[in-house]
Symmetry: C2
Subunit: 226 residues, 2 copies
DNA sequence: ATAATGGTTCGCCATGGAGCGAACCATGCC
DNA sequence: GGCATGGTTCGCTCCATGGCGAACCATTAT
């Protein structure tokens, strides 16, 4: 077997219906068990197991044992970004099944991207962060400014806890539907959490769609828009 | 055939050794003929032809007829970005063939990413653009500031011609080796051209590596660093 | 203990698709 | 015109891999 540049194995792994279904499901952010993933992919437990172990070997997924369950999640948010890139190309190549699906507008408006908010509302939030200088580009990427930290605290984000972790606070993520950036990283993740906790929004079951309540959306826009 | 989300077809297309070899070659930016690509991929002309037509159908590649030749290139710089994303994940998953290849340091230092400069030097240039406010983020992405345009003109970039085209002037592109952004878009492409024209750098044959001359690198760093 | 449930391993089948050679068009050159 | 060269089409082989069922281990529940 001639060995090619190993993007081949990665791409081939994603380029299978069942596995891709699993990965897309995990883009939702929550960890799922093997059987759940088998259902999502509509395959046998045996096949699912085989797929999953290959995905783990390739470091696309990470596992966590919990009792007799094995919880799978995306290994990394690089992987999430990769999936979004793929979705972007597929979407613009016109092949994405989503297009002309009734759910598409909702997905474009607000959805979960691994663990943070994507879609139009995600972009709005990111723009606000830039405009108000809550984040700044420096040599090492994106950093939260002093005023940004203040804002986050007001929103109930535990900035100090976040400082401990070695996961970057802020990070950009390319939004396939809007072709713009939105906010990822710890701050992005925690802000989405807060949206749930404050009752502004809720995940729609079985999808990546985030439904904002009318009041939630009003508040959100009041804070981030204009 | 159950139809999955169509990232499957895209990923599957990339997930084949021969095709992936072709795509990677085209990441070099110049259009190549079918036979050249067949050689790169080490396959028959017949198989190459089959692969190429599938890639074109999926809008990953674009063709241009010229006499009895058919020149293939990446359809879009979205595709280039996707490839870079994949390279990034493959690289960090530790599987990339490059790793521990003698050429790796050179690739990390400076390489072509489709049509613009990537690698450490690419990142240095992008950082300079940010720091000196030659580019600014606004709602619609990255724009070239007035001083940025002035600088580009000094460098011999034809900014006005670029304004005509509908391809974005500036665009970020994620650098898989540096995990940071570098500059893409028309300005990125033209600046790389100028590096060649001014004799600062040269493509290393058959690779994506850009070799700077000692003088070229000195000049480059003098302008963009610090 | 025994049963139930979550996952994995193994052996087998089926098929998609990658690869080739040969014949075949298309274009350019002499 | 005739010949070389670039690409495509067609028919064929062959192998990698996805899929399943059944048996099996592991963990929790009763």
């Amino acid at each position: 077997m001639k060995d090619g540049p190993n993007i081949v194995t990665i791409a081939a792994l994603i380029g299978d219906r069942a596995r891709s279904e699993m990965l897309t499901a995990l883009l939702g952010g929550q960890a799922l068990t093997a059987t759940e993933l088998a259902e999502v992919a509509e395959v046998n437990k045996a096949t699912a197991s085989a797929h999953l172990s290959r995905l783990v070997d390739a470091k696309l997924l990470a596992v966590e044992k919990q009792g007799r369950h094995r919880y799978f999640r995306l290994a990394d948010d690089d992987v999430a970004q990769l999936m979004e890139s793929l979705l972007g190309v597929a979407y613009r190549a016109g092949a994405l099944r989503l297009r002309s699906s009734p759910r598409e507008p909702d997905l474009r408006k607000a959805r979960v991207c691994y663990d943070h908010l994507a879609g139009d509302l995600g972009v709005i939030m990111f723009d606000a962060f830039k405009k108000r200088r809550w984040i700044a580009h420096d040599e090492s990427g994106l950093t939260l400014s002093r005023s940004g930290a203040r804002f986050c605290r007001e929103m109930g984000v535990d900035v100090d806890a976040a400082t401990q972790s070695r996961r970057p606070m802020c990070r950009t993520c390319l939004d396939w539907s809007a072709r713009r950036h939105h906010l990822a990283g710890q701050v992005g993740a925690q802000l989405l959490q807060r949206c749930y906790e404050m009752g502004w929004a809720k995940r729609r079951r079985g999808t990546r769609i985030v439904d904002f309540t009318p009041r939630g959306e009003r508040e959100f826009r009041r804070i981030f828009e204009g």
